[in-house]
């Protein structure tokens, strides 16, 4: 069982959601985040004054999947979120030890 955490452009969230829907992934968590990677942000000018925009708005998508689905999900996200330009984001795959359903208290595998 793996947690797949994807940081994508805000305008790509709908595309990623659709792509994950097409491979019948049941659930996802979306969070508004700000940060930078290699893209590092830039300095913007407004009315003659520079201001720092190094922390760029991004969306973080989290899904937990069975080990055998990781490659398929990662591919789907990359395909949907890629523009080929700097700033497309990152995907992290993290092991998940246990998972519980709060309503019932039962332990689940995904």
């Amino acid at each position: 069982m793996k947690l797949i955490k994807a940081i994508v452009r805000p305008n790509k969230v709908d595309d990623v959601r659709d792509a994950l829907g097409r491979i019948s992934l049941p659930g996802m968590t979306v969070t508004e985040v700000r940060g930078h990677g290699k893209q590092k942000g830039h300095t913007a000018i407004y009315r003659g004054k520079e201001y720092d925009v190094s922390l760029l708005p991004k969306m973080q998508i989290e899904v937990v999947v069975a080990d055998n689905l990781v490659d398929e999900v990662v591919t789907a996200i990359i395909t949907a979120a890629r523009t080929g330009e700097s700033g497309d984001g990152r995907i992290f795959v993290v092991p998940v030890e246990q998972s519980y359903r709060i309503r019932t208290g039962e332990r689940s595998d995904t």
């Binding site: 805000p10 305008n11 709908d14 000018i45 009315r47 003659g48 708005p57």
Partner: protein
Amino acid sequence: MATSTTAIEDARQALSVAAARGDGGAAALRRFSDAVDELLQQLCDAAPSASGASLVVALGGYGRRQLCLHSDLDVLLLFDGRIGEAEEQRVRAILHPLWDARFSVGHQIRQVGDFAELEIDNPEFLLALLDARPVAGDAALLERIAGRVHSPAARGRIFAALLRLIDERHATFNDTFYQLEPDVKDAPGALRDVWAARAIAALTDPALIDRGAADRARLDAAEEFLLRLRSMLHVEHKRNNNVLDHETQERAARLMGYGGGPRQQVERLMGDYFRHARAVSRSLQTVRHTAPLPVAANLVQARDGIQFVDANDAQRHPERWLSLFQAAIDTGSAVADPTLAWIEERVDAHAPEAFFPAAADRDALLAFLKPRAGLYARLSEMHDCGLLGRMFPEFQAIFCRVVRDFYHKYTVDEHTLLTIRNLERLATRAVRGRERFTALLDDLPHPELLVLSLLFHDVGKWRDEDHVDESVRMAREMTRRLKLGDDSAALVEFLIRHHTRMSLIAFRRDTEDPEIVRQLADLVGIEERLKMLCLLTLVDVEAVSLETLTPWREELLWRLYVDTYNRLTLGYADERIAHEESGLRALVAGRPADVTAAEITRFAEGLPRRYLQLFPADEIYRHVRLSRDMRPDDVHADLKRRGSLWELTVATLDKPALFSNICGALSSFGMDITRGQALTNPNGLVLDVFQFADQERFLELNPAGKDQFVHALATVISGQVDVAERLRTREESVLYRRRSGVTPTVPVIHADNQSSRRYTILDLVADNALGLLHRVSRAISRHGCDVDLVLISTEGQKAIDVFHITRGGAKLPDDAIAVMTAEIHRTLEG
């Protein structure tokens, strides 16, 4: 008549004796007043008859039966009909014996008809009428004028006059009743304040006199004490002198029976005086603060809010109902609940147009809609009582309308009003961290049109289909009824039609894609529309639910705004009007008869494309006409008023330092340039449009001012006059003078060689000052640069100007930019 005169002397003697033993209070003064009444009745009986009914009316202190020994005898001689010879004989027969009897008579002679219009410029007389009492003659005459004097509107005017008189009188005593030698009639806490407290209660709410710190018994006791003192002072001074000076204090204390030595007697007397004065002052203060306060014509501010004084008048004039809500905003209060209920009962009887039948009413409505503290609360009151929905039936269509989706948490009408509340919070700086958006709002020349757009942006949701087209259609009905100008109506329609566009782009599109930003810039065209659309988006998203507008979304919206703003102000120069431009073709197709297709094309082709969005077609045709028959030294100028500002349009052929000279000419007349555009077409034709404030009202006060100004402009542009010389005197006196209370800020100059293919761009933000544009552009010209395009704007006290410049037809190298910006810095920092 000798008997009467003797009776008056006897009455005087009796009052003197009573006063001298400290017993000249209300009862003694009433007896004296009654004696004077008797005399007047006898005089009236004996006087020749008037041609119609007549009446002698006691006024002021005499009207209250508190006539003191040497007080003026204030009387009104009232006649029913014209005052002719017979009336004059009667007046003489009444007044002469009074003068013979040593009365100082303050007389007013009036016909009943004179009271058709109240003498609002004579507040003392109006106040004296409050105590009017018939003495001799036909008392019905007084009843006939009483209705007018005591009408709600007259009461409001009298009340306002009374408050003004109280303040003026108190000011002459330095606003304190702790006077060592008090005037027992006029000082704060003295007799006039007793009467004022009672008058305020009588004019507004008689129960006030028994409420809070106001205390009828203490007021009566104070009055009795003060009357006794005043009577004694009249005896002591032998004239109408009411000052309790040190010398008189000793005698008064002794006569009024205070015990102890002379010093103790005085201390006890004055102790009592100050105790009574304090009671009077507190009573007056309480009555003043709790009395319904006149705040506008036919409006008072009562404890529970703003209400009409005369409901009958209000019922006849629905166009005045909005003034209730305007007054509530002005005074920071609410509209009284009973008044809202009153409106609710009657509002359906009127058509929408009845609420703004005249241009002044429509202007008042737009002024009311300016975002500021209280607007949301007042609009909500108007909505709750049905007035808003009656004024705008389109808005009533979304009353409690429920639209179920994943986002909206409120009914459509409340969501709409919340957008206006959010805008109000921006205007009042109620949300920390939103200053950048507040600055956009501050910069809008017509924020009320944004509120109007918000009010209508979702009205189309009354039906289930796509609401935007329907909202636009309904808004057109409204702008037609309001007779909104074409530009304003187009702006409102634009904002409503595109109210979801910016949130869609900011949150769902790749805003780092320059093409996305270009498309938005093309859509809005000019900065004002961008700012309004940005603000509309912000407050609209925020009004969806408490969770919708996250700081993350706010940041996305702001970055989209900045990128688009930069595109509009820095990148616009590269996009020129082409021969086949659709906007140009539309201009040619719709041209008036006196303008040819060729001259439109010759004039507009090659100007920045934003020109077509900046000016409506009629203005563009005017510019074409202005640019006709242009020879090298010609200056074609047009000056017209635009609301509180003036607008100067100049067409001429380009030459060195042209822009600097025009700005200098404006500044030399003390004009404060607030907005403007400077444009140059490829043929070297320059079109400059400036909006400015005529701070010294030169153009308004001088009939020949416009001609004088245009002539001076022409002489400066042609080089006949050195504008620097014209400005020198002003600069020495004003230029470096800091505005009081404004902390000077360091000017910001940013040079940009990237945003435009053709131009070096100088972006300047500095404290606004007279001659600023002239000095900056002069410095640019000194470096051999041509100023081809300029955007001028102000935001509060800040000037925000963007210059597009070239030297020898090319961008400037970096070292030249550095030298020039350093000089501009030196120029600005003095």
